[in-house]
Each structure stands twice: as C-alpha cells, then as structure tokens.
C-alpha cells in the first residue's frame, strides 16, 4: 500500500522524501560516531556510492550508545562532541543527518542538529522519550522494539501525534525469538503501514544475536543481502544499514555492522527490487486479497 510521504531535511541540505511512490531511501553510517575524521571518511564513502546509484540518503551515527552489553563497551563521544561532528558532516556533504537519543533531556539538542531524530527500539514505548522526540518538531524515526508486536506500534505513533509529531518513520529491526535470537516477521511492514506512515527495514540490527557473546552481541551478517532484497520486495520505503570500513575494529556493533565494501551491491539490488515493487503496484494495484463482507 502507498503510505504518506515524509520529508527529511531542513535548511540547506538536500531533502530526502520517504514514503508513497518515492525512491527507496538509505539511512546509514557507522553505529557510533568514533571520531571526526572517521565520520567524515565514512560519509564520503557512502556519498560516493549513493550518488552513483542515485539513492537519496541520510547519514546516521550515534553520539551515545546506551544499550551496550558491558560497562566496558564504548559508550560514545557524548552529546556535545557527537552533535558537533554530525553538524560538520551535514554541512560538508549537504545531506540530512540522524542520531538516536536515549535520555529525554538530550532530545532538544539532538533536534537542533539532526534532521531525523531516532527513538531507540528498546525505548519505543517510553512516553517521556516519545514526547521529547515529538517536541523537537523534527521527523521521528521510531524503531519497533524487539519485544513489540507491530500492531502495538500504533500506540507509540499515537503518542508522537498527540504531542504534535506528524512525520514518522517506522522501522523493523527484528523481533525476539527466544533468548539471544531474533527473527524478522515481514508481516510487520504492511501492519505498520496501516498507521499511514512509511516503513523501513533495519537490516544490520536484524541479523543481530542479542548479547549472544556473553558481554557483547553477535550477528550473522551473511544474511543482510537476503533480508534487504526481501524487505524491498515486500514494500519498504527506506533501508537502514550500519556500515563500517573496518568492522572487526568498529567501536560499536562490530558483529553486525556491514563492511562498506558491500554497500553498493546490497543497495543496488534493494533499489531494483523497490522499483519493481512500485511497477507491480501500478500494474496490479493494492494487495487486497482478503474476503469481502
């Protein structure tokens, strides 16, 4: 089904439209902002790939990683330094940027820089967080918690709308399947689309094996291309994938982040499936196959 279209990007950056019959958008970057030079380097490499493929994109990297498995894990550069780097990436490349925020107090600062504010999956039903996200007046990227049913995401959407949010992107990043394991239920895309808002597949977190390595999460990134193609065929509006030029030494999510050398092939194929999906939608119409009254 065709969703409403949301527009990401304020000021001088190139706006990215997500939803409706718009092209597949890409949201990605290293999981955490590691340092200024690395952030700029990664942005430059993603820009080259997305420009070549003509894929509209948003740079995503977080200044604080609050859901790490160990107190010794890299926690991030913090709000001030992290946002300063994101601001530089934004200006340098003229593209929208995004970060999540884990504390309601950080929302305003995040929204002052970021074009898209992200609500972490674990916090997707926390009223204080959703209110803070809505009050930034930026589009909100709402990730479906691994513990949430897709139909209950409507409650979180309603909370954001209640506080004035009108542009929301709903993302699947997997659903818990027993302990230390998650699966993707592709029914969640049409179900979340019933809210009217566009949907996104977070393909790198979807292959995560949560905290499967004792004090860290594992992941089976070999499945990323399969999930990306399947989600594009299913009808997503945006693809989310964390990428890194040296996953083995990434400071966050090293076991799930995809090596950037594979981004072009994953993105090109996802784009092709998305375009085919739009063509089929024009040819065959909406997927209404249920029984009439």
């Amino acid at each position: 089904m065709l969703t409403k279209t949301i527009t990401i990007g304020y000021g001088a950056v190139r706006q990215v439209k997500i939803g409706g019959d718009q092209p597949l958008a890409f949201i990605g970057g290293p999981c955490a902002i590691e340092n200024r030079d690395h952030a700029l380097k990664m942005a430059s490499q993603i820009a080259a790939i997305c420009d070549k493929l003509k894929v509209p994109w948003i740079y995503k990297s977080c200044y604080d990683k609050d859901c790490r498995s160990s107190p010794d894990s890299f926690h991030g550069l913090g709000v001030d330094e992290g946002l300063k780097i994101l601001e530089e990436v934004r200006k340098e490349f003229g593209i929208p940027v995004s970060s999540d925020f884990s504390a309601a107090d950080w929302a305003q600062a995040t929204g002052e820089v970021c074009d898209l504010v992200q609500v972490p999956a674990y916090l997707c039903r926390q009223t204080n967080i959703l209110r803070a996200a809505a009050r930034t007046q930026r589009p909100v990227h709402l990730k479906k918690g691994q513990f949430m049913s897709p139909w209950n995401m409507k409650n979180s959407v309603r909370k954001i709308e209640y506080w004035g949010g009108q542009q929301i992107l709903l993302t699947d990043r997997g659903t818990f399947f027993g302990y230390n394991m998650q699966v993707n239920d592709f029914r969640c895309f049409p179900i979340m689309m019933e809210t009217g808002y566009p949907v996104c597949m977070d393909v790198s977190h979807s292959i995560q094996l949560p905290t499967s390595m004792g004090n860290a999460s594992g992941g089976q990134r070999e499945f990323i291309p399969y999930l990306a193609r399947a989600a594009a065929a299913c009808g997503i509006n945006a693809l989310f994938c964390e990428v890194h030029d040296d996953p083995a030494n990434a400071l966050s999510d090293g076991n799930t982040v995809m090596d950037i050398k594979y981004l072009e092939r994953v993105l090109a194929q996802s784009k092709a499936f998305h375009e085919l999906r739009l063509e089929l939608l024009k040819q065959w119409g909406e997927d209404r196959v249920h029984l009439e009254n």
Partner: protein, 143 residues
C-alpha cells in the same frame, strides 16, 4: 388501559447525544466494546470531529468480525474502529414519527436507530425498548 401515543416524534423519545455511546473513528475496538458494556447497548455511533455520523458498530458487527478475522485478539483489539464500522447504516431524523421509527426497526430487525439531522449531524440515538414503551404509554418520555 394505556392509549397509543402515535403523534410522538423521534426527538421526544431519543437519547440525547450526551447520553448515547458515541466515539471517534480513531477509537480502538477494545474501547468500543467497553463503551457497549458501559451503556448496555449493542451499538456505538461513530462520528467525525464535527459530529457527522460516519457509521455504527453493533453487536452484529462483532459477531461477523469474530468469524471473519483470523488475526490475534491483541491485534484486533488495537484496530481503529473506523476499519470495521458499517458505514451505510439506517438512520432516522428527529422530526420523524416514532411509529415510523419502530416500523423501520421491526422491518430491519434492528434495535437502535441513530438520529441524524438532514445535514448529517448525529443528534441522538433511538433504542427500541423506550420507543415501544412510550408508544404504549408505559414508559417515561425522554429527550
């Protein structure tokens, strides 16, 4: 022996809107079922923001829904009621004769009639029992 009150109009007997089960289309099914229980009626009227009737959701709709939908109750409960309402429902105007309203309810085998002005605004709800009791001179006129 009571005499038939055939001159009464619907407006004389209907529940005013403040006493009737009314909800917006964004109310979820679970809230609508609670409303039916609260009012002890088998119908909820669904209106838009300006009070125009969009449709009704009835006990019959609940039965049909349960037989038709295969999704989990947790999902069904969270559906916006606008997805499941009957939009082409039978209504009556407040000026109509009560006898006409009771006839319609008998013919269509329904228990309630939303009372709607000619501009589409819901102004009340007519339930069969008070309508008949009032016609028979047995009940207290309301509205």
């Amino acid at each position: 022996m009571s005499t038939l009150k055939i001159d009464l109009s619907v407006a004389d007997v209907m529940m005013p809107i403040k006493d009737a089960p009314v909800a917006p289309g964004t109310a979820i099914l679970k809230e609508i079922l609670e409303l039916m229980g609260k009012f002890r009626l088998g119908v909820v009227c669904i209106t838009d923001r300006s009070g125009h009737l969009e449709g009704v959701f009835t006990d019959g709709d609940v039965r049909r829904l349960l037989l038709k939908e295969q999704k989990p109750f947790a999902a069904l409960f969270n559906d916006d009621i606008s997805v499941h309402i009957t939009r082409k429902c039978t209504t009556i105007t407040p000026e109509s004769k009560l006898t006409e309203a009771v006839n319609i309810m008998g013919d269509k085998r329904i228990w309630d009639l939303p009372v709607v002005r000619t501009d589409g605004v819901l102004v009340g709800l007519l339930h069969l029992h008070p309508a008949v009791k009032t016609l028979l001179g047995l009940g207290k006129q309301v509205g």
